[in-house]
């Protein structure tokens, strides 16, 4: 059944009105509510939501998704989380965008795909003619398929010659990526979920995995139940649901964890709990003498590190952080002394102005103690999106990256990619392009004339979002938004909205946190005129190049007919790099339940653990004589990885007399990101219907607010009125608000201060004041 936009709006209004008085209108057939019944077939894929990458089978009946079930042969052992269980309904939301829309004044009008592509090409071509290739930009997503991200990266950096291509992983994973690169030389974890089965100590910091990565949390709990004397340390200013399985919950003042991590290192050194042989053989010491840009780095020695740590006694760290010294000592001893220690962290460390530094400090603990590159011993960053690792970090869809570990600023890497893509020398610009926040600032000041946003929702997800919303709504920049739903908080600001196929309405590859790449098979047709983003990107590229008089070049650059064609080029692009996945043919991926890179040949089983000869075939390739651990990723430092001297520094905007509370934002288990998908699922919306302010009873009493009463939350950037949820979860002086809700956007209050190294903003901490309404 097709509905016009007007009919859809009328229906939605009627539905809301009826719902308000308790009536339950029937759903229009084919638009809402997945058909019930037993599926005719099950199609293998991966969950659409977080970076855990749970294997999922989609049940299809009559061309519709009617069920999902976990893949028991995948790492998730057949389990899904609460929201994964309700995936079918996201396809049948009433606000699915059915056809291209063009803004005319205050309204959107329906246009054909042909008209949409022509308008878009005209605008981009005009901007490039007048402003050069840097007059256009692309803002992508860790949710696009690898083939989509690779293609658009090739179009912009290689085809057009602009590095103004970035994406939402800049808001999410950039500090983790730069953390791995600065410590180990290359990005991505060396370990795997399998390490959970072997760890005797878990150090979980800045992650509420029970809600944000529930199926990984399930594995940790399973290990806790089965293992003898398995210890779990949870470091978080909130005592979240994750802390239910913790043996030690370390609470601290938000933003002071650098002091705690250095103090743990202090204890490990002072009590001689470190692994001297490992440190001597595999590490060097570095410090930053000048923040730059570019930062100046100096190599130092062990004695310098010990001297540096002298300032971070547990007692000194307690003064800074409020975390009891005895807990710091206990955590350090457990970390160092267990047979195998595994660390997990996520946005609590990454979304910080010192995000890279605090990532380095977690790695430091593993390197000091040799708790790395053994089963159960590893330093593991959790990922927020299903393809942030595969499509963006690995594929190079950030403004400073080229595919598979190559850098824009590296002349040899640029030359490699120019040769691989068949480009003239010098086509790829040597200067990194605009990062996420710089890109939206350039929209505000009009220097970016055309911006294409695909598969993400920056109109809600950017920090300090309101000024950037004004920029996006302005007339200086032509904003194209590829979206599944409309309106979203971004598509409502667009000049052109393109309807996108969703999840199993197209095929492609996702790569998740443990380097596992998985193929998502197409299960159903997209509705109405929605198209896969890859189809749209290829069409746009060919038309734009034709308009620029470069038709023949486009034929060579963009010869693809299917996503498999793109995938085969990607495999070749990875060949010989640390990411090598030549062995991951499409035929093999269709049968496999994910494969972990490096996977250089078709008979290679994939790599559970990197940098150790027992598991990683690339170790012997780097040095045939190597046995055990070899950090071939750190070739520039003679295969030695870096222990960093990173001093404590607090957040950009700590609480003060005027704004006495720290605000942190985060996730609920029911919802994902900006809620464009999960808030359309009736069950999830019923369970978590709206934003709230989480505050502990002591602070609530001080503010004079009771449970369920309204409270006005104000930062230096904006105000919002929320219902108080009085629970003893956040520590004193801290309040929490979930980030999912478009009607009450907490990002109107968050700060856009960002990490100087990763350019990732500090969503996790800003100062607010509270008033009872």
């Amino acid at each position: 059944m097709k509905m016009t936009r007007r009919e859809l709006m009328k229906y939605s209004a009627a539905l809301a009105a009826a719902s308000a008085i308790g009536l339950d209108l029937p759903m229009p057939k084919g638009v809402l509510a997945a058909a019930a019944g037993e599926p005719d077939k099950w199609v293998k894929g991966v969950c659409r939501y977080c970076g855990a990458g749970c294997g999922v089978y989609t049940g299809v009946k009559g061309g519709k998704v009617v069920a999902v079930k976990g893949d028991k042969d995948n790492w998730n052992k057949g389990f899904l989380c609460l929201k994964g269980n309700f995936l079918p309904a996201i396809h049948y939301a009433p606000d699915r965008l059915q056809y291209p829309l063009l803004r005319r004044g205050d309204k959107f009008v329906r246009i054909s795909w042909d008209e949409a592509m022509q308008v878009m090409v005209d605008k981009f071509h005009d901007a490039i003619r007048k402003n050069g290739p840097d007059g256009v930009a692309f803002y992508g997503s860790g949710q696009a398929y690898t083939e989509e991200s690779y293609f658009i990266n090739k179009l912009f950096k290689g085809g057009l010659g602009t590095n103004n291509i970035d994406g939402n992983p800049r808001l999410c994973m950039a500090s983790a990526a730069v953390g791995y690169v600065s410590t180990f030389g290359k990005d991505e974890p060396m370990g795997a979920y399998d390490d959970i089965n072997h760890a005797d100590c878990f150090f979980i910091i800045g992650s509420n995995m029970a809600e944000a990565h529930p199926v990984i949390f399930r594995l940790v709990n399973e290990r806790k139940q089965k293992g003898k004397d398995v210890k779990i340390i949870m470091a978080d200013p909130r005592k979240t649901l994750s802390a239910r399985i913790a043996d030690l919950h370390m609470s601290f003042t938000p933003g002071t964890d650098l002091a705690i991590l250095n103090a743990m290192a202090h204890v490990i050194v002072k009590e001689k709990l470190y692994d001297k042989a490992f440190v001597d053989k595999h590490t060097i010491f570095k410090t930053m003498t000048d923040p730059g840009p570019p930062p100046k780095i100096k190599k130092v020695v062990w004695d310098d590190y010990v001297k540096f740590l002298n300032d971070y006694t547990p007692e000194a760290a307690e003064k800074i952080s409020g975390c009891p010294a005895a807990e710091i000592v206990k955590a350090a001893r457990w970390f160092a002394s267990s047979k195998a220690t595994m660390s997990f962290w996520c946005m609590g460390l990454n979304q910080r102005t010192r995000g890279v530094w605090v990532n380095n400090l977690v790695h430091n603990l593993h390197l000091l103690t040799g708790q790395i590159c053994r089963p159960g011993a590893t330093s593991f960053s959790l990922t927020g999106q299903p393809n942030a690792c595969g499509g963006v970090r690995d594929g190079g869809l950030l403004s400073h990256l080229l595919p598979y570990g190559r850098l824009v600023a590296n002349a040899a890497h640029r030359a490699e990619m120019e040769q691989f893509w068949g480009l003239p020398a010098g086509r790829i610009k040597p200067k990194p392009g605009l990062t996420a926040m710089e890109m939206f600032k350039s929209v505000n000041n009009g220097t970016t004339r055309c911006l294409w946003v695909a598969c993400t929702n920056p109109g809600q997800s950017l920090p300090n979002v309101d000024p950037y919303r004004k920029g996006m709504a302005g007339e200086d920049t032509f904003l194209v938004v590829s979206e599944t739903y409309h309106p979203t908080k971004t598509s409502e600001l667009a000049d052109l909205v393109l309807p996108a196929a969703l999840w199993v309405e197209k095929d492609g590859t996702y790569g998740q946190s443990e380097r596992r790449y998985q193929y998502v098979e197409k299960a159903i047709e997209p509705p109405d005129e929605a198209r896969p983003d890859l189809t749209v990107m290829i069409d746009f590229a060919r038309r734009l190049f034709a308009a620029m008089g470069r038709t023949e070049e486009a034929k060579k650059l963009f010869p693809y007919k299917t996503s498999e064609d793109v995938w085969n080029e990607i495999r070749l692009c990875s060949k010989g790099t640390a990411y090598d996945f030549m062995g991951m043919t499409r035929a093999r991926m269709k049968k496999a339940h994910g494969l972990q890179w490096p996977c250089p040949t078709e008979n290679h089983p994939g790599t559970v653990r990197r940098y150790t000869s027992e598991y990683d075939v690339l170790v012997k390739q780097a040095d045939p004589k190597a046995e055990g651990v070899l950090f071939y990723s750190a070739k520039a430092d003679n295969n030695r990885v870096s222990i960093w001297l990173r001093p404590h520094k607090g957040p950009a905007e700590p609480p003060d007399a005027e704004y006495p509370f720290a605000l942190t934002t985060g996730r609920q288990i029911e919802h994902w990101h900006t809620g464009t998908m999960t808030l359309k699922v009736p069950e999830l919306k019923r369970s978590a219907p709206d934003a709230y302010l989480e505050i502990n009873p002591r602070d609530a009493a001080r503010v004079g607010v009771k449970n369920k009463e309204k409270v006005k939350v104000t930062s230096r950037r904006g105000s919002i009125i929320l219902e108080a949820k009085v629970v003893d979860v956040p520590r004193d002086g801290l309040v929490f608000v979930p980030m999912h809700y478009p009607e009450r956007m907490i990002n109107s209050l968050t700060t856009d201060a960002f990490d100087a190294l990763s350019k990732q903003p500090e969503f996790k901490i800003c100062a607010v004041k509270l008033e009872k309404v």
Binding site: I21, A33, G70, G78, E211, I669, P682, R686, S687, D690
Partner: protein
């Protein structure tokens, strides 16, 4: 007509709620901000202390929303997302009792109850 509209709507609402109560298969209309535990605290506590509570497999997983897809007594499909093999075994059961997960599993603790031995699924549903 405008003055009569609220009365008509209120009447419809009351009628609807009465039908809900009579049918007993639909959930009474409750405010959207109302949490399940406010009326079902005992069940919520049992659930919270069990494995599914620890893993945050919340009320909606089995019961749906109060206003959409509500199921007083959840069917097999509600468990399939995570327990597909066990559900298939139950579907093949030859007796009526075997076709419900809750014949053997406590409703909210979701542990095996009574004479259930735990070997049923281990033996492939035999």
């Amino acid at each position: 007509m405008n003055r009569l509209l609220p009365i008509i709507l209120t009447g419809c609402c009351l009628l609807f709620q009465a039908q809900v109560a009579a049918a007993a298969k639909l959930h009474p209309v409750v405010p959207v901000e109302q949490d399940c535990a406010e009326c079902h605290g005992d069940q919520e506590k049992v659930w919270f202390d069990g494995k599914h509570g620890l893993m945050n497999v919340k009320c909606i997983a089995c019961h749906g929303a109060t206003d959409k897809n509500f199921a007083n007594k959840p069917g097999l499909a509600a468990c399939r997302g995570c327990h597909a093999e066990q559900v298939t075994q139950a579907q093949k059961s030859k007796n009526k009792e075997g076709k419900s997960c809750f014949t053997c599993h406590e409703g909210h603790a979701l542990t095996a109850k009574g004479s259930a031995t735990g070997s049923y699924h281990a033996k492939g549903g035999k």
